[in-house]
């Protein structure tokens, strides 16, 4: 698949040139229980329950900025059942996290510049 094809119009965040991470959250507002992760967003007072692979992706995103492709490759390496095409799955999860305003998106170039 051409990377540019993976970002169709309206597909939302995280094109190949964007990196994403989770907004800063107090540790006490994120709890991990078995395959569940529950997140409290004090900005709006909403509580979100993430389960299974989505919870795993959320935790990877908390480790630091990465691209959607890198996330999908990491997920592919885990050989998780039931997610179908990992690129499509990752993009759906990112779009949902963006809808909940839990993501920070920045150009990859910016991230590289800040690291240099």
């Amino acid at each position: 698949m051409n990377p540019d094809d993976r970002r169709s119009p309206g597909s939302g965040v995280a094109g190949p040139a964007e990196s994403v991470t989770i907004i800063p959250l107090p540790e006490s507002h994120v709890r991990r229980w078995d395959d569940e992760l529950i997140v409290y967003d004090q900005r709006c007072g909403e509580t979100h329950l993430l389960q299974g692979v989505v919870a795993m992706l959320f935790e990877w995103l908390r480790e630091g900025p990465c691209t959607a492709d890198a996330l999908a490759e990491r997920l592919s390496a885990e050989q998780v059942d039931g997610v179908g095409d990992t690129y499509t799955f990752v993009r759906q999860v990112l779009n949902e996290l963006q809808r909940l305003q839990l993501l920070e998106v920045s150009p990859v170039e910016d991230q590289q510049a800040s690291q240099s």
């Binding site: 006490s28 709890r31 229980w33 992760l37 529950i38 007072g45 389960q51």
Partner: protein, 303 residues
């Protein structure tokens, strides 16, 4: 009632300075000139009355008849908090249920030193069983039956979760029974003390079960939360207890809480700690005997 206070004395106190009622962590000063209120307070709160000159109270409540034509035509009772009336009046015969419902509102408005979950709570051996539930879920029937068969009543309406310790503070008040539950409890527990039935309320027929002397005497003893059970009454259903994940339990608790959003992050942390310290279940409740057996099995020692 302060030892030896008879109903005439209580009526006089209610009609003048107001009677001070200690309900768990709250002090309520109630003024009323309604005979039915005096009788109900004397019955249900006799052991929770404090000296009328108690200087500080959390809630100043008055329950009286509105003036004007309503004094004679279809008389009504009106609830006042700090001399303002937050609700529409109700028929006069509903004065005591109105007091109980109004008091729920007062506590939900101001009890923010707790995470307050709409829930019945009972305790055995220091461990609390929390039964969150919407009206019609059967929580009050289960709460009444448990409190009459070896469990201590902590509350019929509120799980008061202490924000710092996570313990459950007791709030011993009459258990509000509705419709068929009244006869079920009366028949099953002949020693239960129930007040008069009030008909044609918005909830149907209502009667209140007096809390036990033990529940009132131990109002200062909090309990450690151990189980959260979400009851769901389904007539004719086979009773079963199914585990609920912590995440799902917390979402349901948040939905059932009066002040989860008011407390913000502290509410989340208290709710999260609560589900971490409890086993959570969903109870499908069709038969009282079967459900009591399931709930009692939770508290039995594991071999």
């Amino acid at each position: 009632m302060q030892a030896g206070t008879d109903i005439q004395t209580l009526s006089r106190i209610l009609g003048t300075t107001g009677a001070v009622i200690e309900i768990g962590p709250f002090l309520v000063r109630l003024r009323s000139r309604l005979d039915s209120v005096a009788a109900a307070v004397g019955l249900h709160y006799e052991h929770q009355l404090r000296a009328p000159d108690t200087p500080f109270c959390d809630f100043h409540v008055r329950l009286d008849r509105p003036g004007g034509l309503r004094r004679w035509w279809k008389p009504q009772a009106r609830f006042y908090l700090d001399e303002t009336s937050p609700f529409k009046p109700l028929p006069l015969n509903q004065a005591f249920p109105l007091f109980e419902w109004g008091l729920n509102w007062c506590i939900a408005q101001r009890g923010h030193r707790f995470l307050m979950v709409h829930s019945a709570v009972v305790e055995r051996d220091g461990r609390a069983l929390i039964l969150p539930g919407a009206p019609g879920s059967g929580k009050s029937t289960l709460c009444a039956a448990l409190s009459l068969s070896g469990w201590r009543l902590l509350s019929d309406e509120f799980a008061l979760v202490e924000l710092d310790t996570g313990r459950i503070t007791p709030l011993p008040r009459p258990v509000s029974l509705k419709n068929a539950a009244i006869g079920i409890i009366r028949d099953r527990y002949p020693g239960a003390v129930l007040g008069p039935e009030t008909h044609d309320t918005t909830k149907g027929t209502v009667a209140h079960l007096k809390p036990s002397a033990d529940a009132v005497e131990r109002a200062g003893d909090p309990a450690e939360p151990a189980w959260i059970v979400f009851p769901e009454f389904q007539a004719g259903a086979a009773d079963r207890l199914e585990p609920v994940s912590r995440g799902q339990a917390l979402l349901q608790l948040a939905d059932s809480a009066f002040n989860y959003s008011v407390l913000g992050g502290r509410g989340f942390e208290a709710g999260a700690a609560l589900v971490e310290n409890c086993q959570s279940f969903r109870l499908t409740y069709g038969d009282l005997n079967a459900s009591l057996k399931l709930l009692n099995s939770l508290a039995e020692p594991r071999s």
